[in-house]
Amino acid sequence: MHIHEEAVERHVLAVLVDNEAGILARIAGMFTARGYNIESLTVADISEDHAISRITIATNGPPHVIEQIIAQLDRLVPVHSVRDLTESGPHVQRELALVKVAGKGENRIEAMRLADAYRARIVDASTESFIFEITGAPEKIETFVALMREVGLVEVGRTGVVAVSRGPNAG
């Protein structure tokens, strides 16, 4: 017997939640409990009185699973709203990465040249290493990190994606 796999789509969800103890575990645990995927998850307090946090979740699954994920999130008591940014139209996605590269000679020069082309900033430098800060859509970061592998990548830290819809309105 073989286990059947379905084709998946990537969706970015913006979730507003009460900023209370255990909320992250509640959301992340719901994903594991129901077998949903999390590609990345970011969370930060966004309201003036620190009462509300915004969680951005990049997830993937077949369309009916994405629909379930939204419904399951929405019924959690501390969740105020769930928006599927991928579904609701144009939006901006950004992610930040810190990328450490070490090397000398031609590799070091090539790393700097590529960083310039990708508008990555140097935030730390020694005679044999750099840390680049790069911001952009996840695909851009993927490409940049892949290029850095060839010129001496040491480590990379990524924030995961945050996203906001285009135009004057929220959502």
């Binding site: 009460d18 255990g22 575990a25 509640r26 645990g29 929405d74 019924r75």
Partner: protein, 581 residues
Amino acid sequence: MAEKSGADILVETLMDLGVDTVFGYPGGAVLPIYDALYEHPKIKHILVRHEQAATHAAEGYARSTGKPGVVLVTSGPGATNAVTGITDALMDSIPMVVITGQVATNLIGTDAFQEADTVGITRHCTKHNYLVKKPSDLAHVVQEAFHIATKGRPGPVVIDIPKNVQVAAAEFSRNAVVDTSRYQPQTEGDFKEINTAVEMIMNAKAPILYTGGGIINSGPKASETLRELAELLGCPVTSTLMGLGAFPASSDKWLGMLGMHGTFEANMAMNKADLVVCLGARFDDRITGRLDAFSPNSKKIHVDIDRSSINKTIRVDLPLVGDVGRVMEQMIAVLKGRRFVTPDHGEWWSRIAGWRATNCLDYPESKTEIMPQEAIRKLWQATHEREPIITTEVGQHQMWAAQHFDFEKPNKWLTSGGLGTMGYGLPAAIGAQLGNPDALVIDIAGEASIQMNIQELGTATQYRLPVKIFILNNEYMGMVRQWQELTYESRYSNSYSDSLPDFVKLAESYDWTGIRIEDPADLEAGIQKMIETDGPVMVDCRVAKLANCYPMIPSGAAHTEMLLSAEDVKGTMDDQAKALV
């Protein structure tokens, strides 16, 4: 404002909320609460023998009264023992509030004595849970917990209270205004969607109402509305296990339960219908059988208060979020507004009559052995005029009870449907009897299941609860054995109930009356004696050992592929079918 201890705030808030019964078991981390209860005799505390039983008793109380069940247990093992019942309540949408003691806040995370991460463990088996870190938060948390447990789709809520929070004091005034704005589920159906639903109903030639536990949760009025709707539409009604009693079994519109052990007519009608109106049910795998073969030619309307139940497994044409009782009222109003005339649906009913003629619930008769189906039917005949509350354990006896015991009213049938928890029936019967002191309460049990919470015999004795246990004793975990016959060529791996106790002597040792019935000729007299005996009675009814529960839709099969009797059984299955639950 006067200051009170956290324990007093808790107990007084419970009283304000109208709580009269608490099922619990004391321990170190709840001693301050138990001391507060000592001062407040208005709240009746029922001392169970195991915390799992406290949760099932609370479920039985809730399901039979419509009020939330309340549980009080200690930290660590008290809380972990309660987890099965909490999960059971989540799966079956039972309103329940579970208060757990916790080690003092400064000890949390130190692996203190009887410490467990209760909020972590129960996060995904509750509708919501809380760890209360300040006594000043308690009143609000408790009030919100009851609101969440009872509103929308009901479910269990856990409140974990560290011991120092129970002892420390905070300002408290009785009957403060409750802010429940954080949780306001939609109860009213969308008017446009109601109209679309009505149009779909008016165009249907072969409609069926598929009802579930949501009707019972909506309250007794919803059951009345369902009757009105079914009469108005002139269409057949079937129900899930959890929904039994919402529609009277004596009605000519009633097809019986559907699904794996449902009737042939209910499953065939679902398969051939051109419109399925799902009212407070959730297309569970025990209902649908093979998904791609489920009711293939119908339009589907799904009314549910929980949006996440809609389109979870079966795609529907019209989702309708709202309280099912209210939505049915809205539908009736629109139908009447359009001067809807009950259609005859003659062709549809004649097809149904053909399926009914199969007499799918017939079973082989015997003069030497008691047939379990016969035992249930005789039990129904002897008791139905008293409108008994029936609880069950889980297994063959549960399905036979669902098939052969007819219910006319809601809140009379208490069973563990979603989680399928053996050991549910006896504590649930205890809870139901406490909520309905004058009712006849019977736990229909199997000899294996009853042993999973057998210690609760003592609880019934202590509180003089006249519950009856009717054991269909076939010396097997019968449903496991039945599946082994169906799937594994009758290799009975560990499904024999060896070393059984003498149930009569066991009953007597707890000061119950014990009755044994072995001969079919003694069945009626034995049942009569059980009913007429004051106080609790346990009946050990020895039934045919190898009887199986039919009809049955085997794993991975369609509604049209029912096994109607033992002759249909092949004894093997392919791996695809074996892998399904």
